[in-house]
């Protein structure tokens, strides 16, 4: 009989009372959360991430003008009180475009990682759980995908799928999936050596329940760290693809395509090359700092 079937017949146990002077030790989750919240650089990173998320969400409210509104009387104007970040080659407000550009970058960062995790985590879990032939086949596929440099494969996929933001996100997600598979596989193999898995088997839990109820929650910390760091690399990848014309299409603003256009006017309008790049850098820095902070909080051995 399974443990789940036994559970309802057991009377609810009262909370244990501890002798005075003793206290319940903190749960690992609380310890990790406390470490993360006191990690100064991680908090700086979190503030940066939240700032850019707020900018992306509230873009229509905070943008001074429409990002695609052209003003032929204000072409390539340097930063001023009227246009804080200047204007571009057809008189569009650079600040409005940087604000709206956050949407494509953050959307691509998050959606690509969701796609990557949706493919990579179940595959890694299956490989680490089943071992044997399943592991060998999945690992060979991952080896083959990792043999093709990340951006080269993403560019090729996006080029063949067709240039738009949706295809760029699919290309980045599929290209990032092998990393999640490796992380999930390694973590699953580690978890499978623990006694509680043996105990779960001994009470008759089917394999799928052990995988979902016992393995999945325990491989979550390294996947969370990888997910945060992968958002950073996906944002750079999206910017790279849109820099090459394979991401968000004009006139919708994207930081990468803005930099591509700015390259033609480096001598006349250098500010066009500064602000979108700085926005990419600060957003990526934010996610990298949060990822590093999470890793330190969840695995203090690396400190």
């Amino acid at each position: 009989m399974s443990s789940a079937a036994l559970a309802p017949s057991l009377p609810p146990s009262p909370p244990p009372s501890l002798p005075p002077g003793l206290h319940v030790p903190e749960s690992p989750t609380r310890v990790a959360l406390r470490r993360f919240l006191t990690h100064r650089s991680a908090m700086l990173g979190l503030a940066l991430c939240l700032l850019f998320v707020a900018i992306a969400v509230a873009a229509p409210l905070i943008s001074p003008v429409s990002p695609i509104a052209t003003d032929w009387s204000a072409i390539r104007q340097p930063p001023s009180w009227a246009h804080w970040m200047g204007t571009d080659e057809i008189g569009r407000d650079e600040l409005a475009r940087v604000i709206f550009g956050a949407r494509a970058s953050l959307l691509a960062g998050v959606v690509s990682v969701v796609i990557a995790a949706a493919i990579g985590v179940p595959a890694g879990l299956a490989a680490g759980f089943a071992r044997g032939r399943t592991d060998a086949i999945l690992s060979r596929i991952v080896d083959a995908m990792l043999a093709i440099p990340f951006l080269v494969l993403a560019i090729a996929l996006a080029a063949f799928l067709g240039p738009n933001l949706r295809n760029a996100m699919i290309a980045i997600g599929v290209t990032t999936a092998p990393i999640f598979m490796r992380v999930a596989r390694g973590a699953t193999m580690d978890v499978m050596t623990h006694d509680y898995i043996e105990a779960a088997r001994a009470v008759g839990n089917p394999s799928w329940r052990i995988a979902v109820r016992h393995v999945m929650p325990n491989i979550f910390p390294p996947i969370l760290v990888q997910g945060t760091l992968s958002i950073a690399t996906s944002i750079i990848a999206e910017a790279s693809l849109s820099f090459l014309g394979l991401g968000e299409q004009p006139p919708t603003p994207a930081w990468g395509s803005m930099l591509n256009a700015a390259q033609q006017f480096l001598t006349q309008a250098p500010w066009l090359a500064i602000f979108p790049g700085a926005a990419i850098f600060l957003t990526v820095l934010g996610f990298n700092l949060v990822g590093d902070g999470l890793r330190d909080a969840l695995d203090p051995r690396g400190l």
């Binding site: 080269v152 090729a156 063949f160 090459l244 014309g245 790049g277 590093d292």
Partner: protein, 315 residues
């Protein structure tokens, strides 16, 4: 040694086979009829479309198309560039030395910057030096290569006028001008690898500095720098060398954008131009050769690791 090489080769062959399936599979992702896409402006001419379909066996089942493609591949035929009207293998052979020079220079920059910074960070752990080295490392990981390239062109070439903003002169033609045109792209390309090397060197040095043999060396009265450089670093460098070799993928990924920004006519520029012009055989060819290079260089790195690590040889 022979057994080790044999087992690595046995792992590589299935990987290369799967890479060939992935690269072939790319053309199946094309929306619509590939023959019409390939024909481009001539898509209205049924004769040309039929010719393309016949040449690429597009009217045959996909496994047959794959075997035909693989057969060509094994005979060194990577396809034909639709735009440049040249065999892809020749285009790759022309561009590869340029990217090789750029990548080698970038790797030298990465080692010169990353390894000393990692050592300093580990030796001066939890000091301002450690903080500074970590901050530079994080900066290197977070800055997009192409933006760093644009900013460098703006500052070094446009404002200061020290180096040419773009172009390339082959090494054999004029080595001074060749270095002048590649030093900036190589620095930009090496920047991300330097950050990764710095992190690996720091953690490997922290492990090495905590070992008994380091304590013994200190107890013998050796100076701190001898302990660090001759005892800790020699052992810490083994994993760093391996990880450094594995960064080739990052180098090749970065080369795509760096070559585009600095107009360096290498491998990366070839693929970007192919993307702009929908020259699909070139994209497939570059992806395939890149993967092959990556696999071969990984094998070389593994062999180096085997040779420099006495424990593996003994095993």
């Amino acid at each position: 040694m022979r057994g080790f090489l044999g087992s690595r080769l046995a792992q590589i062959l299935p990987t290369l086979f799967l890479v060939s399936i992935i690269v072939f599979g790319l053309q199946q992702l094309m929306p619509g009829d590939p023959a019409l896409v390939i024909a481009g402006d001539s898509a209205g001419d049924p004769q040309i479309v039929a010719q393309i379909r016949g040449e690429l066996m597009l009217n045959r089942p996909i496994p047959v198309q794959y075997l035909h493609w693989l057969d060509n591949l094994l005979h060194g035929n990577l396809g034909y560039s639709w735009r440049l009207q040249e065999p892809v293998s020749e285009l790759v052979a022309q561009k590869l030395p340029v990217t090789a020079q750029l990548s080698l220079m970038a790797f030298v920059f990465a080692v010169i910057i990353g390894v000393p910074m990692g050592i300093l960070s580990a030796v001066k752990r939890n000091t301002a030096w450690d903080w500074l080295a970590n901050s530079i490392g994080l900066f290197g990981l977070s800055i997009p290569t192409f933006w760093l390239g644009i900013v460098m062109i703006l500052v070094v070439s446009v404002w200061l006028g020290w180096l040419p903003p773009s172009g390339y002169v082959p090494l054999a033609q004029n080595w001074v001008r060749s270095l002048a045109t590649t030093v900036m792209p190589a620095f930009v390309l090496g920047n991300a690898i330097a950050a990764i090397l710095m992190r690996h060197t720091r953690s490997a040095m922290l492990v090495a500095l905590g070992q008994d043999y380091v304590r013994t060396a200190r107890a013998k009265g050796l100076s701190e720098w001898v302990v660090v450089l001759r005892h800790a670093l020699r052992n810490a460098l083994i994993p760093v060398v391996t990880l450094g070799g594995l960064q080739l993928g990052t180098l090749l990924s970065g080369a795509v954008l760096t070559e585009q920004v600095f107009s360096v006519p290498g491998f990366g520029k070839l693929v970007v131009d192919a993307v702009f012009n929908r020259d699909y055989p070139v994209i497939q060819g570059v992806v395939l050769v890149t993967a092959l290079l990556y696999v071969v260089l990984n094998l070389v790195t593994d062999l180096l690791y085997f040779l420099i690590n006495p424990r593996m040889r003994a095993g």
